[in-house]
Symmetry: C2
Subunit: 570 residues, 2 copies
């Protein structure tokens, strides 16, 4: 029995929650109204071709086909959302071959398909997106040039990002009518760069699941296999991007929330070194918490689009002009070594990865073959004992205020505490520690950060320095809803603030090849929680995305390395 | 009556403290032994010319004359320490006109004079400095090039910086025999760059006074007027640098600890944006505290030396290769505007500056005249009410762990709690707050940081953006020992993490011109504490240093602006 099969929790305060139910209903009706108003016939057609929620929830359906081959989009629409990179979209607008409105309409359609298939949308912004697209077309016509480097490019936004004049609730029911006055800095930047915003996507309750499930819209499905989870907390984004519902999306990551979703849905995700992108004017239950900072980052279908996003965001957007907590570090030209030295972490010494993950990693390593130097980290990685100390520190830091900040946002609505929220609130036993304790944990965190630098990324008499570390993103190839229990493969890099890119592989869980659990389990509670009920049939269609890590502020170099790796893998 | 005239506090635990007294005596004897061993005759000569401690403590003696004109140094020694910039020292070594040993010997002599006049040294490193200098001379001879960009340049070090194989106690008596295994990252860097380390300088108890007084060596005097304070907590450094006892010094600043000492002793000091320089492997009672981060920074006799220090530290030293918490931001070429727009803050709306400070600021502003655009911030600065909220937030954050981290270092020796330590421990009433409260204060801090950016450093419909803000460094022209009570003019910029350079003016307190307190005092406890006993005669010889602030990460631009300002003031 899995968490997912437990009945979803009851409201903590049923009477209070009852008062919010009409607001939730209204919130969700607005979505239907916008889809209908945009194109009622198209909506009808989609509903006829896309299975019901019940079927999607029960079957391992690859929902991406509804965009790529189900005939729901016209040929030209399909070409726009399936074939063109961001740069091509810009070139074609400049050449007069496509208009911003055509692009926007195509992406609105694919976003509607995404919504029907995966339930990834919190709020559509269809009317304003169309208006914006028309303005951009007019601008290009009148000025003979693009408005900016994201002219007419539809971007999807994790809903926790403040959006001026719109409800921004971050999936907290208590904030269901919280209309904000300021857009998040990233939205302000992309607005100035010419982007179009057509959809705001879902995040889980508390924004702290590696899954996407909340009390406002329910659960989001994985496009690769609809009965699976799209990951989280940016699972609305990963579903949207994987469904080709936007050209690129913005998520955020404090424990894996960009990288797990990217891996689970077979797309690219970057968790940059923190403070390079701005998170200002967003809602978060961890506001003011600085021990493990969160960061925004892109989720994309290609490493080129992801790189372009970072380039224009930093070099033309200059977040530091809006947000004084942002670092003044442009997106810098970067090179990688002729022969890249990659340390491979097959196992973090706490939780054994699933057979599919192990197989994918082995295959990738053998494909990289001669062109890369591969160093197996099995003997040099932190021991189980060290990793327990590190992971428990991470867990304690997430809940170190005794969850007061989170409960302050959750409690006022009386909403049910979902199973993975409960799981999270119980990290570090949910204990409130003292500021003194917090400092000691910060010091321990920094010693881990230093150990990483000295053991792996510095030349030493006994070992060559690594350029990058390749590892699983998550123990499983995607996950059963409600079952994303172990964060360690990603949260380790949040504690230490080393940047990573997750990239898709061509490997997918295969119940025939990947049926056997490890013969011997490690003796720790995390291993046990992951392996207690291994059911290889449940993971059908789950893709394996891998995680490449570099030194702090080596974001640019990691992107270059992933380009090189993925070109070899092709 | 001033705090300074109170008798120094009794040991908290006299029996315990008694056990440490022989260790303290031994620690201080080593200093005498090194001076004697270096040159007993020279020491004798110095003692004959420099007044006794009692006289120095009682009179407003300008001790700088002992280096510049008292005949204690030979002509060539005097030239080395009084006339040459760092770059000239390098050039002359390369040209064979000076050796590292000559330079080191001259600076050791001036450091000995500095010690006798101001009591600024915790520990000399004379034998190893001489040995190092000889090695450098040999290197140059054998290789025909300098070892590095600080070849043979004597640098003084705030003692809290770890020094491999030496006691590092940060003025905590409990650590008086704490021999450390690792040098601080900055020392490692300057070692690689070819510097010579000959002296480690004093800091106050808890490293949290704007003064320099501890239970190991007592109080440090101000070279400009020996009965005054050299500021703190890097007052050992400021005294040393102002006495020409080192070519340049390294201090640290969490509330004014580089800038007050620089202003009090008429030299330059930079508090960079945090995390640009590394503070790794140092001792601090605030370790693990992240709400108001501390930073290291240079104290120098010229802005050119200061700039050179930053350039080689960042561009050749690359602290991020040692310290993974350091930002990867090189020292960048920077330009300032043709006509610089400076907002002038004559008064922070909490504490009225002394007449001497006001006069200096007014004079400087009128000297800047046509070449700069001056904007008086009187009407646009934060109100008294806002400033109270901001300053009280700062004070609370300093002691937010209920001083547990500090007391853990102070208590084991039973050492007396000095009056300014008591003053500091009582910031925010010394109350231990919760992590939840800490987060709220962090959020408030960031809103202040943002308000600064939006109100002053951004273009708006109603105002032009400022390039820099010019303000007092401290309410008084230097300070009476034990009387540095109000930190607001500097700590404001620690809370918000905006970088500043302090530069000397030619203005000094004049009891005739500066005798009158303000006719009307502001109604708040800080104003009251500063003005309750104004005695204009006490400040004779106190110089006024001013503080120039720029946007976060505009460190390079501030340095350029200070160059321009000081060239106009000349």
């Amino acid at each position: 029995m899995t968490l997912a099969s437990e009945s979803i929790a009851q409201p903590v305060d049923a009477a209070k929650f009852k008062q919010f139910e009409p607001l939730i209903a209204k919130y969700n009706e607005a979505k239907w109204a916008q889809m209908k108003e945009f194109d009622a016939k198209f909506l009808e057609l989609c509903r006829s071709k896309i299975p019901s929620d019940a079927v999607l929830d029960a079957e391992p359906i690859d929902a991406r086909k509804f965009v790529t081959s189900a005939g729901l989009l016209s040929e030209s629409e399909a070409q726009i959302v399936n074939e063109f990179s961001i740069k091509e979209l810009l070139d074609k607008q400049l050449a007069g071959e496509l208009s911003a409105e055509q692009i926007t309409r195509a992406y609105i359609k694919s976003a509607i398909i995404a919504q029907l298939a995966t339930n990834c949308v919190m709020q559509f912004l269809i009317p304003s997106a169309l208006e914006r697209a028309k303005e951009l077309d007019l601008y290009l016509k009148e000025n003979g040039k693009l408005f900016g480097p994201m002219h007419g490019v539809p971007i999807s936004l994790k809903e926790q990002m403040g959006y001026k004049g719109q409800v921004t609730c971050a999936s907290y029911v208590s904030l269901i009518d919280n209309v904000v006055k300021k857009s998040s800095v990233s939205i302000q930047i992309f607005d100035k760069l010419g982007a179009v915003f057509h959809a705001r996507t879902s995040q889980p309750q508390a924004i702290m699941h590696l899954d996407t499930w909340n009390n406002i819209i329910g659960r989001t499905r994985n496009p690769c296999s609809t009965r699976l989870s799209p990951g989280g907390s940016s699972g609305g984004e990963s579903a949207m991007v994987a469904m080709h519902g936007s050209a690129i999306g913005i998520g955020s990551d404090i424990g894996g929330s960009i990288r797990c979703p990217a891996a689970f849905t077979n797309v690219f995700g970057l968790k940059p070194t923190t403070k390079r992108l701005s998170s200002m004017n967003g809602i978060s239950g961890g506001r003011g918490q600085e021990s493990i900072p969160s960061t925004e980052g892109p989720i994309a279908r290609s490493i080129q689009d992801l790189e372009y996003f970072m380039d224009v965001y930093l070099n033309q957007g200059k977040p530091w002009e809006y947000d004084p907590t942002s670092l003044v570090i442009p997106w810098r030209p970067a090179e990688v070594e002729e022969k890249i030295r990659i340390g491979v972490l097959f196992d973090d010494n706490l939780v054994t990865p699933h057979p599919a993950v192990k197989r994918a990693l082995q295959q990738v390593v053998s494909q990289l073959g001669e062109q890369f130097e591969i160093v197996d980290l099995a003997d040099s990685w932190f021991s189980q004992e060290e990793m327990l100390a590190i992971h428990n520190t991470t867990l304690s830091l997430y809940t170190i205020d005794g969850n007061r900040s989170q409960l302050e946002l959750i409690s006022p609505s009386g909403e049910p505490i979902l199973p993975l929220t409960k799981h999270f609130l119980n990290f570090g036993q949910g204990k409130e520690l003292s500021i003194y304790d917090n400092r000691k944990l910060n010091i321990f965190r920094d010693s881990t950060k230093l150990a990483l630098l000295e053991r792996f990324f510095s030349q030493s008499p006994t070992s060559k320095k690594l350029h990058f570390i390749l590892s699983p993103t998550y123990p499983a190839p995607s996950e059963i809803p409600g079952n994303s229990l172990y964060w360690g493969y990603t949260s380790f890099w949040n504690l230490t603030d080393y940047p990573n890119v997750v990239f898709p592989t061509s490997y997918t869980h295969d119940p025939k090849l990947d049926s056997l659990p490890p013969t011997q389990l490690k003796q720790n509670e995390f291993e046990e929680s992951v392996w207690s009920n291994y059911n290889p049939d449940a993971y059908v269609g789950g893709p394996v995305g891998l995680q490449l890590t570099g030194k702090r502020f080596d974001d640019e170099r990691i992107v270059q390395a992933v380009k090189k790796i993925t070109s070899v893998l092709k």
